[in-house]
């Protein structure tokens, strides 16, 4: 987490429909975990493994349990419950909080909030918000383009042609998310998003042309603000001494905070149209998602052919037939 995330900040998310009921002195308490806790077991007196460092959600079950228990019992359990350092308590579904809880919250300066959402909706929303808030972020020098619905992050040294490749992709009907700087963020497990960090309009700098306004030139459908990054394309000057992937069987993924993203390294050289190659890389990734893996399929067919006892005859027959009946 980049900076301290407090309960007060949680209240600023209007979508969570939160309102502070008590313990407002404790709004500076920190949220340290993306997980929340339903304290049912603790309320029954079982405090082993009690996740007190998490946000405590009180739903219908917890509240009705407290209401049916007798006053002295409730007092004992709630006193023990509030003796822990808890970031905050949230009562869901507009339920009415027992007055002891209000008093204890104020006394212990533990924020007690209520939300209009029901428990399941709220926990989902909360998890989404917290993951978004806690996810690691990083600025990278590159472009993010939505190609056939896949977020493609284009990396490479200055002057290699990232912006030019993005411009060509734009002209082919793809969508520009960010030019020059992309803010990457892991929002949940296996998902890395890229956003345009700059709230200014979509401007691009093209060497020799200067600054262009993407929306004015290509329309509003040519731009977006965020996209999940599913493919990383690194452009680099063709290095004769280096070997590039020729089969597509092996791939070294791009790493972003333990997340692996598909990665291709494209050497730049005359005669290689980078935007077409990026388009094809995205299409190829899409076909892999649909279960079509060209290198593996071809390798399998090749192995079958190798083991075919009548290979020679078949190949000759095929060539012969093709010559015989070919019209083109």
């Amino acid at each position: 987490m980049s900076d301290v995330f407090t309960i007060a900040k949680l209240l600023q998310y209007l979508e969570l429909k939160l309102e502070a009921l008590a313990g407002k002195e404790g709004l500076g308490r920190r949220v340290c975990s993306v997980q929340s806790n339903r304290p049912g077991l603790a309320l029954c007196g079982y405090f082993d493994h009690f996740g007190h460092d998490r946000i405590q959600i009180f739903g219908n079950g917890e509240i009705s349990y407290l209401q049916q228990s007798d006053t002295s019992e409730r007092h004992v359990i709630l006193t023990r419950f509030f003796s822990y350092e808890i970031p905050c308590l949230i009562i869901t579904g507009g339920l009415t909080a027992p007055s002891e809880m209000i008093d204890l919250s104020n006394e212990r300066q533990i924020p007690f909030l209520q939300t209009k959402h029901d428990s399941s909706t709220f926990t989902t929303l909360l998890l989404h918000f917290l993951e978004n808030e806690f996810g690691p972020t990083e600025f990278v020098h590159g472009n993010l383009v939505d190609v056939y619905g896949l977020g493609v992050l284009i990396l490479g040294q200055s002057g290699i042609g990232k912006s030019e490749a993005s411009l060509e992709l734009l002209r082919k009907g793809h969508r520009l998310i960010a030019d020059d700087t992309v803010l990457l963020k892991r929002v949940s497990e296996h998902r890395v998003f890229g956003i345009r960090p700059n709230p200014l309009k979509h401007y691009m700098e093209i060497r020799g042309l200067g600054v262009i306004d993407v929306v004015a030139l290509f329309g509003t459908t040519a731009v977006g603000n965020r996209k999940q990054v599913e493919l990383v394309v690194t452009l680099e000057q063709w290095d004769r001494a280096r070997s590039y992937d020729r089969t597509g069987l092996e791939s070294k993924p791009y790493q972003f905070h333990q997340e692996s993203i598909s990665h291709v390294v494209l050497p730049v050289a005359p005669g290689r149209n980078i935007s077409s190659l990026i388009e094809t890389a995205a299409a190829n990734l899409w076909s892999k998602k649909l279960g079509i893996n060209a290198p593996e399929d071809l390798n399998r067919a090749l192995t079958d052919m190798m083991n075919d006892e009548h290979k020679k005859d078949r190949v000759e027959a095929w060539q012969h037939q093709t010559f015989l009946f070919s019209t083109a």
Binding site: S243, R246, T247, L249, E250, S251, P253, P295, L298, N299, L302, T303, M305, M306, N307, D308, K311, K312, V315, E316
Partner: protein, 92 residues
């Protein structure tokens, strides 16, 4: 021009990864390099070409090299085809 017939020793034959390695290695020579099996002739610098041969362990191939560095190219090709190596597959 030099020519030599060898027997493929590689365990998995000239599968995709082996083909890629052959293409990668022959690409470093200036000489034109071909692999011939029966009536089929493939450019050794092309992965697809080498694969087209579908040569397995025990297949006989003729290496043809033509150019300035044909002698060293021949030695390299011969060792690639006749060493009983197994290409290490790194899982994606």
């Amino acid at each position: 021009m030099v020519e030599k017939t060898v027997t493929v020793q590689n365990v998995s034959g000239l599968d995709m990864q082996t083909a890629a390695m052959i293409a990668e290695n022959s690409g470093r020579f200036q000489a034109d390099i071909y692999l011939q099996q029966g009536s089929m002739r493939a450019n050794a610098k092309s992965v697809m070409g080498v694969m087209m041969l579908a040569a397995r362990r025990g297949s006989e191939l003729t290496i043809i090299a033509n150019g300035e560095d044909e002698e060293i190219a021949m030695v390299r090709m011969e060792s690639l085809l006749t060493e009983a190596f197994e290409v290490e597959v790194t899982s994606p």
